[in-house]
Symmetry: C2
Subunit: 151 residues, 2 copies
Amino acid sequence: MIRLDDTDRDILRALQEDATLSAGEIGRRLGLSQPAAWRRVKRLYDDGAIRGQRLDLDHEALGFGVTVFLGVKLATKGRVSLEDFERAVRAIPEVQLVHHVLGLYDYRLRVVARDLADFERILRRRVMTLPGVGEVEANVLLSEERRPGPL
Amino acid sequence: MIRLDDTDRDILRALQEDATLSAGEIGRRLGLSQPAAWRRVKRLYDDGAIRGQRLDLDHEALGFGVTVFLGVKLATKGRVSLEDFERAVRAIPEVQLVHHVLGLYDYRLRVVARDLADFERILRRRVMTLPGVGEVEANVLLSEERRPGPL
DNA sequence: CTTGAAAAGAACTGCCT
DNA sequence: AGGCAGTTCTTTTCAAG
């Protein structure tokens, strides 16, 4: 487990807001020189605390106005069945996230669609026909808020 | 709604894999000059297709080995109650994501905890005491797979 | 759209406290 | 650890076709 001091935590908090901050800008904010900030950021990457950076796309602006969370319960849960299900799920382009979970459901999926008609097509043609699929529960996203998290 | 051509889509796909790609590298892969690729990326930002870049942190390596998705049903759902609930949820540091949803539940939360004992504390002390909270359902994350999405 | 080039800024290195 | 000075590389902008 990676140990961080307060300065590392400050850096992660700043980068969570905007991952494109330069080492110089981070140093300015925290009272560090550019190389000192740069070395810390590099160490956070090298140690594996930071895995990388990902794009934050505006799917609504890109024509995908509907986001739905699906809870999926499998009818049969052998090891083969899990692998079959996961392979088939990966073939659905509208699936952004596949969570294998423990609890009332076996998988949670994040799915985007152009509109509700488009979502209905995905649900009927792609999701309900997945191998081993049992019960499916859906939640339509109204609004999303990201929080800084516990760091 | 933002219109993209095939090249824009290729750029977004490449940047989804690695958001740190330089304009020169993108151009090399797609057969564009560095300035041409740079202008396109800038336009994707300016038009709002790309909102920004976010850190991909390894929460497990940082000591938060447990991730749980909570479905929350409110007991009373007036407008005041939604605002009260949301304000109180924002005060829980372990909550990373707050989704207001339509369906069987009213909210979906993504929560991280150091371990299951820590999660139990958060659930009992912070979540179950939220204003207006009714039923709560939990799914513990076993594994997560990100997919490129439908672009 | 291209190439070429210049200016600005960020990343990286070595050495010192 | 952190700072300073300097080098290298990328980004960003412009000119011209």
